[in-house]
């Protein structure tokens, strides 16, 4: 089996394929996240008024696949939690796309969203399975992540959850501050 001779495909089709893979200025924004970042994780596990639980870790971000996606690798300092992610900008559909998995669940977390240049903030929305679902009756739960670029060396991610699928009932479950290592 050999490689096809370039040019055997109609030029318009070759151009369409080239457009599919073309990176944009949004991908340049992703490069801002490259590097190693120390994290301060604050989880809000109780009702309003409860203390946040704090931990620390390191996120290593690298551009992957010819600059099309940001690959993320997270390890917490306690050595008990790991995460992997991909974050990209779908230039065909004009939306940001995020993927996250970790060592504490067996579910994909998928998000799509938009970027506000004025506030340097990404808002990503998706659904996840409500961990409290009865066996055999998985329920969807809304999640929203807000990533704000504070400076070249700091960004903050807030995560909100809305069980029952009602955005008006969402609450913040976690805030992570990343500082360039």
């Amino acid at each position: 089996m050999g490689a096809p001779e370039p040019g055997t495909m109609p030029p318009e089709m070759m151009e369409a394929f080239e457009r599919m893979g073309r990176t944009t200025e949004e991908h340049e924004l992703l490069k801002s996240f490259e590097g190693s970042w120390t994290s301060t994780v604050r989880m809000f596990c109780g009702p309003p008024g409860s203390d946040a639980q704090e931990s620390h870790g390191v996120m290593v971000n690298e551009m992957d696949l010819d600059g099309k996606f940001l690959r993320q690798v997270y390890e917490d300092d306690a050595g008990a939690f790991s995460g992997r992610g991909y974050w990209g900008y779908n230039a065909i559909d004009g939306r940001w796309e995020g993927f996250w998995i970790d060592s504490m669940t067996t579910m994909f977390n998928l998000e799509t969203g938009e970027y506000d240049a004025g506030s340097k903030t990404w808002t990503m929305r998706g659904t996840m399975t409500d961990p409290t679902s009865p066996p055999g009756e998985p329920r969807a739960m809304l999640r929203r992540s807000v990533i704000r670029m504070v400076s070249d060396d700091e960004h903050v991610m807030e995560m909100y959850h809305a069980p029952g699928g009602k955005p008006e009932e969402e609450s913040m479950g976690m805030e992570i501050t990343y500082v360039r290592a």
């Binding site: 089996m1 050999g2 490689a3 096809p4 370039p6 055997t8 495909m9 089709m13 369409a16 394929f17 599919m20 893979g21 944009t24 994780v41 989880m43 809000f44 596990c45 109780g46 009702p47 008024g49 639980q53 931990s55 870790g57 992957d64 696949l65 010819d66 099309k68 917490d76 306690a78 008990a80 939690f81 992997r84 991909y86 990209g88 779908n90 065909i92 993927f99 998995i101 970790d102 060592s103 504490m104 669940t105 067996t106 579910m107 994909f108 998928l110 399975t129 409500d130 961990p131 409290t132 679902s133 998985p138 739960m141 959850h161 069980p163 029952g164 009602k166 009932e169 609450s171 976690m174």
Partner: protein, 224 residues
């Protein structure tokens, strides 16, 4: 506290607890988060989950978070593979040869496939696939990204009699389109057969990728 708020709080706490397991805060039998809730912030009238309920919830979460039989069925893909890919036909034919390396990540919860073709449409091609099994939904899940597109593809599916059938969407020059992938195995040879979804709901085969286990990968398939 309203019933919905209680449900919301319980689910939020569960998510938080899921994270807390990983971050070293909580143990399934009794989380520090639960202690905080019970000691300083939980008047009886505002939260009705008992410690026993919390314990049962955390135990259920821990079970769902643990890889099991569904994940074990992915073990055969671990290792090094030779790859032959063929999509389309005639002037539209796209073919290539290359390699794939599949490894476990995140405590055998997911497989990570590093897929490379030496020359595909005149360019080196690189893709990454992450595949897992959700204990929550009972479905296989797969995510794919590559150097040909800025689109992130995802699929879900099931395995029956050793055949994994996944359905999702892919990006084509004509836009996003339904896609189905059927994975069959015959010893050290695997085949992914791809189908495009048609407007009438039917599926038309669009290509195949054949994997042959590389000599250096033999014997490693179960080890991760």
């Amino acid at each position: 506290m309203k019933k919905q708020s209680l449900i919301s709080f319980a689910a939020g706490a569960a998510v938080c607890g899921t994270l807390a397991f990983g971050l070293g805060f909580a143990q399934p039998e009794k989380s520090k988060g639960a202690e905080k809730r019970s000691e300083k912030a939980q008047p009886a009238e505002s939260f009705e989950m008992t410690p026993e309920m919390m314990e049962a919830m955390f135990a259920e979460m821990a079970e769902k978070a643990t890889p099991g039989e569904g994940h074990e069925k992915l073990a055969d893909s671990i290792g090094h593979w030779h790859v032959q890919a063929s999509f389309g036909e005639g002037d539209m034919a796209m073919v290539g040869t290359g390699t794939m390396h599949v490894k476990w990540i995140l405590g055998k919860r997911y497989t990570h496939a590093d897929f490379k073709l030496d020359d595909f449409m005149g360019q080196p091609f690189h893709g990454v696939a992450i595949t897992g099994y959700s204990n929550y939904t009972g479905e296989y899940q797969s995510m794919w990204v590559d150097t040909m597109s800025t689109h992130m593809s995802t699929m879900t599916g099931e395995m029956a009699d050793g055949v994994l059938t996944m359905v999702g969407t892919s990006m084509t020059p004509m836009g996003e389109a339904p896609m189905k992938m059927v994975t069959t195995k015959d010893g050290d040879t695997w085949t992914d057969t791809f189908y495009d979804g048609m407007p009438d709901g039917s599926w038309v085969q669009s290509g195949t990728i054949t994997y042959t286990r590389a000599a250096e990968g033999r014997g490693q398939r179960r080890g991760g």
